[in-house]
Symmetry: C2
Subunit: 318 residues, 2 copies
């Protein structure tokens, strides 16, 4: 009766407010959710909250959603399709009003089915075939293109690339951007220079070792996400090489920490927080019942030039 659903006489209102005070009454959200058929809760499914990229996204979403009185249930998938599926199912049982998800790419149908069944969903960081759901991504191909061009402009011709997991849209797009840049510069992409880093630190390190052990060694390496970049630098250290002197590096993803340590990493920064924020706003519209066709938002990446690409060809300095 206090939900402003109709007029209440001032006298009764005072009486009721008094009672609320006296009894220390707090409404029960569970009962309210059951009856009102909405929980004011949203599910947030990310690969790994310990990865700062996703943590920033979550923060962006949290800020807009909490301000609108929504809570958020967080789940990590670890890129495991079965975990993703289990979480999706649980979240539906818990009757979340909406879902923001970084899809593994392996559960397309269940996601579309859930959406058709009335669950608003917005995809984040990765697209899904068909583009049937609201999506917020970054211009991955453009970003990778920029990074590779930057390397090419520094005179590099043998540029290795560490790519992420297959089945993730960013992997394809970033690889495409890399190849596009090479081709536009009259080079033909060499398959031996592209290695799968599995989007992880260990995978990145292994891929980097393969690249560094090639003869002749590439003069530059483009690592396509933050975790693999850590692996790359681990490998560089292990091989007792020095960046940018022995090997130039361009990367994807940025963090404050990277701005103060050496070598200053030249990287493609993504608007992490903004991704989460925009996703939450899209979701908000859907939860409010907006019915138009799926919106695909592509946010611009930004090349941050620091020092890891050197000022020219690395070995020419030596």
């Amino acid at each position: 009766m206090l939900n402003k659903t109709r007029f209440v006489s001032p006298a009764t209102e005072v009486r009721i407010r008094q009672a609320i005070q006296d009894l220390n009454y707090e409404p029960d959200h569970i009962a309210r959710s059951l009856r009102a058929r909405r929980t004011l809760t949203v599910g947030l499914l990310v690969s790994d909250i310990a990865n700062p990229f996703y943590a920033d996204i979550v923060r962006g979403a949290e800020d807009v959603l909490s301000e609108r009185h929504y809570s958020l249930i967080l789940c990590d998938t670890d890129e495991a399709p079965e975990r993703e599926l289990a979480s999706l199912r649980l979240l539906r049982q818990k009757k979340v009003d909406g879902l923001i998800i970084v899809p593994t790419g392996a559960n397309v149908a269940p996601l579309y089915e859930a959406n058709s069944a009335g669950l608003p969903i917005v995809l984040v960081d990765r697209k899904l075939p068909g583009d049937l759901l609201d999506t917020v991504v970054v211009g991955d191909q453009a970003g990778a293109y920029q990074a590779t061009c930057h390397l090419l402009e520094h005179g590099h011709r043998r540029i290795g690339v560490i790519i992420g997991k297959a089945s993730i849209s960013t992997t394809d797009h970033r690889r495409k951007g890399y190849e596009q840049a090479l081709i536009e510069h009259g080079l033909s992409p060499d398959p031996t220079l592209v290695r799968d880093g599995h989007s992880s630190i260990e995978g990145g390190a292994a891929a980097a070792r393969e690249l560094l052990d090639l003869a002749p060694r590439p003069t530059a390496i483009f690592s396509t996400n933050n975790l693999m970049t850590v692996g790359l630098f681990l490998a560089i250290k292990q091989r007792r090489l020095c960046c940018p002197k022995d090997i130039a590096v361009a990367s994807f993803d940025d963090m404050v920490w990277l701005s103060v340590f050496s070598p200053g990493l030249t990287t493609i920064a993504q608007p992490n927080y903004e991704i989460g924020k925009r996703a939450a706003e899209l979701l908000w519209d859907r939860m409010a019942g907006k019915q138009d066709s799926p919106r695909i938002i592509v946010l611009p990446p930004q090349l941050i030039v620091r020092e890891s690409c050197g000022h020219g060809l690395p070995q020419s300095d030596a």
Copy 2:
């Protein structure tokens, strides 16, 4: 009836399972929660999920809780007491079965009240006066003591310290560890060498500038958390100084990223993930009805020696 609450004849069971299949039945968790008076949901209140320290803690908690079929509602407080209070209230209305919280320190009574009212709570990262709640912290004083001793052993006598927000237990403890080390080495703590960095990047930078502008300049600075360390390095850069040549640095908190960039940061690593994991386990016991007195778990910090303290007094190298 399928909740294993009593025997069901095989025939009926088959019939029911068939119906579940046919109707695509999924239990409604909201209705279940209302009736069963438990939600299988836990609240997680941290300062800022975008801070990798807290993200790791959340991950640790998520792993043990999700395995036990609990979901987790995430809230950021931004160290704002009113946000903390609002979240606590909301979480209670949403009838979470338990709460893991990094307390701001400003809402002690409400936390104790909620706990008395039957809400299991475990404190994380920070203690609260009275120690009335289960708590998982790190040996902050011991850690700060170790870091400071390390600096002292490298010949430093004028050691600045950037401390965090007042009202947070870690701030006091880390400051105490710093002073203890000085005293044990026959030095008397100099108040002009301790600056408040407000536990933030900007605050850390401002505090660092004050320290770096002192005449004579301290030969070393101990920064007591990850954010303030970023600020410290920003200030070092701004003043065109070089670590460890011009100024030695010891820090608190570690990250994989720090292991591959220069200068290798000598720091006190906390077992972030473990903190979250242990907290979740404590909470689990409480939610299961365990009734003994509050358990205060103090996890050991670990000194990671890299290169930011140099091999001796910084200016003697110059």
